[in-house]
């Protein structure tokens, strides 16, 4: 029980009591209670007569932010005129701090008229800043942190390529080491929540999270920038990595504090697409997801929703116009960096279905780089419209920003159409699926636009069968198509019936226009090497066939065949290898066209998940079976900085270079295999030493136990006994009369 023995120590009077701790605890902070008050500066100075008018006007502006509880404008007598005049600032009190915050967010910098741009601040801020010490203190200089070299991977002396591998919850970056197992550069567990994506030039690796997108890169693989977009599902970079488009299925909500702390403003609310500036991380503009289609149901998401022009200057999408109005489609082309519509309005195109930008040729890209902002090159896009009433279907080439139509072509009996630009923008192939008059069967037409030639001539190639795959040779003038006349095509088949197909290669120029067809194939996908010339014909997503055919279109023929080759392209068409990858789902060429990886992803099925690395000839270099393997992507490379002359020089001296690199490869291989041999030798030695020890122990123990070890069987002791069994089946005795 506590006693009062030490009562003498109690304070004698109330003054002696130390209340400082309690005072501290219950101190009323000064700021409290003023959260709802804002200060509006730069208001016009008025005299008594105009005061009410001004206040009424100000109230009108700020009532959008919330309910104004009180407004006060201090007036002072002017020393000259002796009349009460305002001092250019006033106080507004709102009902809640949120409303005050909203008012600051919305109306700071509000242009009231030409000369008066309102400056809106928190009252507590004014208090805070007025209490700042008079004496200037030099702020501590923030240490300059050098940004990492984002393209450091390109400086690899052996010009190796990187790839990202997503497996289970692990994401790893690897160097491809040809025949050696890949070297891990970086690894993180749970680096992404759904999947990963490289930016188009390989600078950034984008990872997906609940809260948004993060970009990673540089030698340390640190986070470079982050884009807040809750529930983001799809992203798309502009071709030069300047802009990023993100899409989330969840419309943006501002939350209770009106979007404070997020990059979103009230105008972003309910929208699903955001365009970001990749370098600064700023939100540039948000868009609603594609507008409702004519019957009022939300459109299916097609991605990318916005298509970028090759220079990053324009981006565009198809809009459906006013709801419920048929045939009011328009092409909305926006400009960067202003994010506004080109010419301030969309281009109305009745029935517009789809469009594609023409890729830029190398020369144009070079020009874009040097001309900068001064001169704007016209960029080309193509679009098509189906048959509407009496008007035939039509493919149109359109210049942007002049909106000048360069070429149109009318087509009839069109069911569907698809536009394929060659990677340099030299050719456009429009694959037209046409139906016969009875609409019972379909066939395909290929309309080739020679875009670089005068008046853009068009050739038509008629294909009797249905074209199921089309691919231009990168930078080339050849393309491959896969056609099928299989009756199973288009039928809902069970168990994935493998279609019989044929593959055709078309030559537009060299050695002469023509085509080469390979019959009786099962291939259904075309994968050109990024450098052209080599192509893989793959049979994907079939349940029974997993063929990969590696073709070379410029196979070096012997001299006497060379003449022949000039007239017959088939002489140079060579099947280098036919391989099988059981369960293959994806094919990925490395950006240099030296290697290709085929993989079987856990996302499609769980059959032999993993990947195989091949060289371009179809020789298997490595095979890795990985449980829960999900995704593998080569890191893209930006365009080479070498001029075409430099490239030519390298090609000319290729022998010398290859000698040098061959030597390095050999060296590396020998050191590596030496290490492996060392390791293996050590294992063998350890095992043998252990065996010796154990065998000795064993024989000792046996001796002690008095049980001799059973003699080892020797081949000499084996006795082979051969038994010949003669069976008399029948014996008859016949007496033959003489």
């Amino acid at each position: 029980m506590p006693g009062f023995d030490n009562a003498r120590q109690f304070p004698q009077s109330i003054e002696d009591l130390d209340f400082s701790d309690i005072e501290e605890k219950y101190k009323v902070p000064f700021e409290e209670g003023f959260d709802t008050v804002i200060v509006v500066d730069n208001a016009p100075t008025v005299d008594e007569s105009k005061k009410d008018k001004l206040l009424k006007f100000i109230k009108k502006i700020f009532k959008n932010a919330g309910n104004i509880k009180d407004i006060d404008m201090p007036m002072d007598p002017d020393p000259k005129t002796e009349t009460l005049t305002s001092k250019g600032f006033l106080f507004i009190e709102f009902e809640t701090p949120e409303q005050a915050a909203m008012a600051i967010k919305q109306y700071d910098g509000y242009p009231m008229d030409k000369t008066h741009h309102l400056a809106v601040n928190r009252f507590t801020d004014i208090e805070k800043y007025s209490q700042i010490e008079e004496e200037y203190k030099e702020p501590e200089e923030e240490k300059f942190v050098e940004k990492e070299h984002l393209r450091s991977w390109l400086t690899d002396p052996q010009a190796r390529d990187q790839f990202v591998l997503y497996r289970g919850d692990d994401v790893s970056i690897f160097w491809n080491k040809k025949t050696e197992p890949p070297e891990e550069v970086h690894k993180r567990i749970n680096w992404t929540e759904t999947y990963v994506q490289w930016s188009p030039l390989g600078t950034y690796l984008a990872t997906f999270h609940r809260q948004g997108i993060a970009l990673w890169g540089g030698p340390s693989w640190n986070k470079i920038i982050r884009f807040v977009h809750s529930g983001v599902k799809l992203i798309d970079f502009s071709p030069n990595e300047k802009y990023l488009v993100t899409w989330s299925n969840e419309p943006i909500t501002l939350g209770p504090n009106g979007g404070a702390g997020t990059p979103f403003g009230p105008e972003d609310e309910g929208r699903q697409i955001i365009i970001w500036d990749v370098h600064g991380g700023n939100l540039l503009r948000s868009f609603p997801s594609s507008t409702l289609s004519s019957d009022g149901t939300p459109n299916k998401i097609t991605w990318p929703m916005f298509k970028w022009s090759p220079s990053d200057k324009y981006f565009a999408r198809v809009t459906q116009g006013q709801q419920g109005q048929q045939g009011q489609q328009a092409l909305s082309v926006y400009e960067t960096p202003s994010m506004g519509l080109v010419g301030n309005k969309s281009i109305k195109i009745e029935g517009l279905v789809d469009f594609e930008w023409a890729p830029a040729s190398d020369k144009e890209k070079e020009k874009d780089k040097h001309s900068g902002e001064k001169k704007q090159r016209e960029e080309l896009l193509s679009y098509w419209t189906p048959e509407i009433g009496n008007q035939p279907a039509r493919v149109t080439l359109l210049n942007i920003p002049s909106k000048e139509i360069v070429r149109t072509r009318n087509l009839v009996n069109v069911t569907d159409s698809k536009m394929h630009w060659q990677s340099n923008g030299d050719f456009l192939c429009v694959k037209v699926d046409r139906h016969t008059k009875t609409k019972k069967s379909t066939f395909s037409n290929l309309e080739i636009f020679r875009v670089r030639e005068k008046d853009i001539p068009v050739e038509v190639i008629e294909v009797k069968d249905v074209v199921i795959a089309f691919a231009w040779e990168p930078k080339g003038e050849r393309f491959a198509i896969i056609t099928t006349s299989d009756p199973n095509y288009g039928q809902p088949t069970q168990g994935g019936v493998t279609l019989k197909t044929s593959v055709s290669f078309y030559y537009l120029e060299k050695p002469k226009p023509g085509k080469e067809t390979l019959e009786k194939k099962t291939s259904n996908a075309i994968y050109w090497s990024p450098q052209g010339r080599h192509v893989i014909l793959a049979t994907l997503r079939s349940a029974t066939t997993f063929d990969l055919e590696f073709w070379d279109l410029d196979f070096e023929t012997t001299l006497d065949q060379k003449e022949f080759a000039k007239t017959d392209p088939a002489a140079c068409l060579q099947l280098m290898s036919t391989q099988e990858h059981y369960g293959v789902t994806d094919v990925e060429w490395d950006p240099t066209g030296r290697y290709v990886i085929t993989s079987s992803s856990f996302w499609r099925h769980s059959i032999e998940n993993g990947y195989i690395l091949w060289d371009f000839k179809g020789t298997q270099l490595q095979k890795h079976l990985l449980d829960k393997f999900k995704q593998l992507l080569w890191r893209p490379r930006p365009k080479s900085l070498l001029t075409s002359e430099q490239k030519k020089a390298i090609k000319k001296n290729l022998r010398e270079y290859s000698k040098e690199f061959g030597k390095k490869d050999e060296e590396e291989e020998s050191t590596l295999s030496e290490e492996q041999i060392k390791h293996r030798r050590r294992l063998m030695e350890e095992w043998n030493a252990w065996r010796k020890r154990v065998e000795k122990e064993l024989s000792e123990e046996r001796e002690n136990a008095g049980i001799v070890s059973p003699p080892r069987r020797d081949d000499d002791t084996i006795e082979v006994i051969e038994e010949w069994i003669e069976e008399v089946v029948e014996e008859t005795e016949e007496i033959i009369d003489d």
């Binding site: 059959i607 449980d627 041999i677 030798r681 294992l683 154990v694 122990e697 046996r702 070890s709 059973p710």
Partner: protein, 329 residues
């Protein structure tokens, strides 16, 4: 060489075993029949009839006179190899999952299943190698394994101890006289399906459903080697002559009907015993999981028995014997 297909069982194989000389191959299956074959040509020599339940296990003594089998009919039977006569029947409370003769043939162990309220046991039986003698019904000792039940068991050399593989993936050493556990190590993450001794019983290999096989030293239970595969394993064997191990298994029999043969991974895989991570080769053929593998004592052939009811006898080609790592010798 083309493998010899032994078609003598109507249900899945459970265990196969060569005799000491390797001229005979014994196979048991769920079809309640024991078969004996000439291993060099696959000719069937005879059958041992008498069990009335699936037979789980078989072993033959070193002189190839006595054969011991364990069955789901809760019995272990001793047979005269030459005549097929049943010499003795031991009755147990539950199924017999594994039998093994000791090195000197004087004893045998029988692993019984844990079921119907009865604990799993390892029964040590005394065996008289005289064919005329009356076998004793009374076991020498009964070992009650600690923790999880035993799936497989083998004798140590000189009958020093018995080694057991357990359902929880652990491997243990038991003193069969006292019935105590001497040592236990957690080896696998899933049940152990097979345990086979090396020729001199100084080390052994375990196969497990966790897709790996491991080699341990018998005396110390020190872990020596590990072989990772991509399929659950049912059996593992060590080869003489070449330093290999043969692993067999495949996805569970229950799932087989829903997938293709290729996916099932019904292949015998050869790994280098010492280098661990070097897969030397594969032998295809079964169209169901491989349940049991046995290697001929002279190392010149091996056999595998599968869920598909077949035994495949493979004789190695000339190349097999020539194979070696040049850099290691």
């Amino acid at each position: 060489m083309r493998p010899i297909l032994l078609q003598g069982h109507t249900r899945s194989l459970t265990q196969i075993k060569y005799n000491r000389e390797g001229d005979l191959l014994f196979s048991v299956s769920k079809d309640q029949v024991v078969n004996v074959w000439y291993s060099h040509n696959g000719e069937r020599l005879g059958t041992y009839n008498g069990h009335v339940g699936a037979i789980w296990t078989v072993d033959v003594n070193s002189t190839s006179t006595l054969l011991l089998t364990g069955s789901a009919d809760n019995t272990a039977k001793l047979w005269e190899v030459q005549t097929g006569k049943c010499l003795h029947t031991w009755e147990f409370k539950t199924a017999v999952k594994r039998v093994a003769f000791s090195e000197d043939d004087a004893m045998a162990l029988a692993v019984t299943e844990q079921r119907m309220g009865y604990p799993g046991t390892i029964v040590i039986l005394s065996i008289k190698n005289d064919l005329e003698a009356e076998q004793s019904d009374e076991p020498i000792n009964i070992v009650y394994p600690k923790g999880s039940k035993a799936m497989a068991a083998e004798w140590g050399y000189l009958n020093k101890y018995i080694i057991t593989g357990h359902e929880d993936g652990s491997v243990a050493q038991y003193d069969w006289k006292a019935g105590d556990q001497i040592k236990s190590v957690k080896a696998h993450n899933a049940e152990i399906t097979d345990l086979q001794m090396s020729e001199d019983r100084t080390y052994f290999i375990t196969a497990s459903k966790d897709k790996s096989a491991q080699i341990f030293e018998s005396n110390t239970l020190n872990h020596l080697k590990k072989y990772m595969t991509d399929a659950p394993l049912n059996s593992a064997a060590i080869t003489p002559i070449q330093d290999f191990v043969i692993l067999g298994g495949g996805q569970d029999a229950m799932q087989v009907t829903t997938t293709t043969m290729r996916q099932g991974k019904f292949e015998c895989r050869f790994y280098h015993k010492i280098l661990e991570d070097v897969e030397v080769g594969r032998v295809k053929g079964h169209f169901g999981p491989i349940n049991t593998i046995a290697v001929h004592p002279d190392g010149k052939s091996f056999s595998s028995g599968g869920e598909d009811g077949y035994v495949r006898v493979h004789h190695f080609d000339e190349d097999y014997f020539k194979f070696k790592y040049p850099e290691l010798h």
